[in-house]
């Protein structure tokens, strides 16, 4: 198994002269590979969250390695893919299994050790000059009285562990875990927690943190081909999850076509750029993958990208046809009111913008088609075209796009058990 990880300071933190509050790590030994991402909370109240994130990652690594070493791996034997949401969202009458109990012990141990470690750090590290200058007095007073220390160091936690006979992953807070696999090509294996919304997140510093963990596991000997953990800085940069999956596929392709080292360098170059043009937050990615399986999946990954852009082209075609119809209907109307004039102007502007979007999409599509088809590559074209010319599409095209008008496209693909064989 191979792995890589990288963390960089966010653009907004550079501007505010704040440290990077993310922490990531990945390692592999004794046939167990681990990837972890922790994101320290922003905001004055959490003024040592960078330390909290580092400790959380290190303690989690140590704890999961102990877990793998000490438990009887038979407990996972032949267990199908199982995902467990936060306690609050479990169905009434849910019966805790032996595995659930083991995970609760693991989470409880992580929380306990993390609290011990931050207490030790707080005792050994007095308030610094920077903290005196930048942190509100009420928080410094609380810190001095050792009140709510866990808030001072608050962070999220996400981990993936691949052991010899099984794998598991768990998450507390925001950020996203994406698995690449055979079919469907990607999924989010760990259940989401609806409390993580916009800038709100659950946290290791919550009083009920033990009940906020969600997790998944499988012991049938099937493994995801690659798993990517990304902090919310990554997530927020891409908006739609499919954009983020597309990014991870580019990274996976770099691993296959180049090498782990080159992929790592690319990641180091890319994440600061992404922070600049995206969320401006700290950025972390940690990844575990099987290179030979990834190689075998390569064509399917490119095909997914092609289909993804193709679907976007079809959606934009629908929009173009709708906007053309709207524009034509408004043009046929006697322009008697300001409202009609404004609506017409909007339709025309939106149409120009839709064609621009389509040109960009077709450019992407051609790159991917070239990658997929090699010498047999034929540039994409359709009857709607990429220019805003007053030409009516054929009845066939109109019918095709009309069929798509009411289709809902959901960004999240459900997870299945179809992982590749180890």
């Amino acid at each position: 198994m191979e792995y890589l990880n990288f963390t960089c300071q966010g653009e907004s933190h550079k501007a505010d002269n704040k440290v990077c509050q993310d922490y990531s790590l990945a390692s592999s030994r004794e046939r167990t590979t681990v990837a972890i991402v922790c994101d320290g909370h922003g905001g004055n109240r959490y003024f040592r969250s960078d330390i909290g994130a580092k400790y959380a990652a290190e303690i989690t690594e140590e704890s999961v390695r102990m877990f793998v070493k000490n438990i009887d791996s038979d407990i996972f034997r032949d267990k199908p893919f199982t995902a467990v949401g936060p306690i609050k969202e479990l169905p009434e009458g849910y019966k805790e299994t032996e595995i659930d109990k083991l995970f609760r012990q693991l989470f409880s141990s992580i929380i306990f050790k993390w609290n011990e470690k931050i207490l030790e750090h707080a005792g050994a590290t007095p308030i610094s000059e920077w903290e005196t200058e930048h942190v509100e007095q009420k928080y410094l007073d609380e810190f001095s009285q050792q009140k709510n220390l866990e808030k001072t160091y608050g962070c999220t936690l996400m981990a993936f562990v691949r052991a010899k006979h099984y794998w598991f992953a768990f998450h507390l807070g925001d950020g996203k875990c994406i698995a690449l696999q055979k079919d469907p090509i990607w999924c989010e294996p760990i259940p989401w927690d609806e409390r993580c919304f916009l800038n709100k997140t659950t946290s290791l510093c919550d009083s009920d943190a033990i009940n906020e963990f969600r997790y998944c596991y499988q012991g049938k000997g099937n493994y995801p081909v690659a798993v990517f953990l990304g902090s919310d800085g990554i997530d927020d940069s891409f908006g739609e999850t499919t954009n983020m999956v597309n990014f991870y596929i580019q990274l996976a392709k770099e691993i296959v076509l180049q090498s782990r080292e080159k992929a790592e360098v690319s990641l180091q170059e890319t994440l600061p750029q992404l922070s600049k043009i995206g969320s401006r937050d700290d950025m972390s990615v940690a990844c575990v993958y099987d290179k030979s399986d990834l190689k075998a999946l390569y064509k399917s990954l490119v095909q997914w990208q092609v289909s993804n852009v193709m679907a976007a082209v079809e959606d934009i075609n629908v929009r173009i046809v709708n906007l053309k119809n709207k524009r034509d209907a408004l043009q046929r109307k006697l322009i008697s009111s300001d409202k009609t004039k404004i609506e017409l102007q909007y339709a025309m502007n939106d149409l120009d913008r839709a064609f621009l979007q389509k040109r960009n999409l077709v450019k992407k599509l051609d790159i991917l088609l070239q990658e997929r088809d090699g010498e047999d590559f034929v540039p994409y074209s359709d009857e709607i075209g990429v220019d805003n010319i007053i030409e009516e599409p054929t009845a066939e095209v109109i019918e095709h796009v009309a069929d798509k008008i009411d289709e809902e496209v959901d960004g999240v693909t459900p997870c299945t058990e179809e992982y590749s064989e180890d």
């Binding site: 505010d16 919304f197 916009l198 940069s237 891409f238 954009n243 597309n246 890319t270 300001d338």
Partner: protein, 246 residues
């Protein structure tokens, strides 16, 4: 090699500013004229905030309510492109229906995009009276809406007849309700609230530990001290102002 080549999309983050405007009969005349005038004038300012903000772009949506509730446009428009169409007054005050309509649009199938990559919206409610429909049902729907819960919510009470309790119920705090008593104050407060909400709402980093809503309220409070005829709703009982809408 950067992984952000031509194949990867990084969309700009978005914040949507909602105007909810009471266009009932009592708004007729100078009040509605002032609202139209103020919104037209504030749009270029919002565009400037959007253009100079590296964190997010600002979109605008407007909902008017009287006998029913209707959107000025079927989707939020970029602040730079929003063309204000003057609203006219007449009819009842269907705030409940407006809240239900807002609730529908505060969703992925409505006006909002993925939560990742979005900022919480800012919602400005303007009203000069009390609701004439079942507003409680509408507000209770909103109170369960995650986007609404996270939103910056500010209400502007236009004159002494505005139902402050209802506006407070909408914003969730009496601190976020501001009262105006004359045309000039109305115009100025629309500008102050819209600009402040957009500035604070579209920033990814926040100062201190206060919520964005609290920051907006504090900033607006500070600015209305210089507006003759405007006050925080909490000061209305001891107000020295009387309504003057001529």
């Amino acid at each position: 090699m950067s992984l952000l080549d031509e194949v990867v999309s990084v969309p700009r983050r978005t914040m949507t500013l909602f105007f909810m405007i009471d266009t009932s009969g009592s708004m007729m005349g100078n009040k509605i004229g002032a609202v139209n005038d103020a919104v037209v004038n504030v749009l270029p300012m919002l565009d400037e905030i959007s253009e100079t903000n590296p964190d997010a772009e600002i979109k605008v949506a407007a909902l008017e309510f009287s006998n029913g509730a209707s959107w000025l446009y079927s989707e939020p428009k970029l602040a730079s492109e929003f063309v204000w169409q003057d609203v006219t007054a007449g009819g009842l005050t269907s705030l409940g229906e407006a809240c239900s309509e807002l609730n529908t649009k505060l969703s992925r199938s409505g006006f909002m995009q993925a939560a990742s990559g979005s900022f919480a919206p800012a919602i400005i409610l303007l009203s000069d009276g009390g609701p004439t429909d079942d507003y409680k049902t509408g507000i209770s729907k909103l109170k369960n809406n995650n986007w609404f819960k996270a939103a910056i919510k500010v209400a502007i009470a236009i004159g002494d007849d505005a139902d402050l309790k209802v506006l407070e119920e909408f914003t969730g705090s009496n601190e976020a309700v501001f009262t105006v008593h004359n045309i000039d104050a109305l115009k100025q407060i629309i500008r102050v609230v819209a600009v402040t909400s957009s500035q604070i709402g579209s920033k990814s980093s926040s100062a201190g530990d206060a919520t964005k809503q609290d920051q907006v309220v504090e900033e607006v409070k500070a600015q209305i001290e210089n507006i003759d005829g405007a006050e925080a709703a909490t000061q209305v009982d001891s107000s020295s102002y009387s309504d003057d809408w001529d």
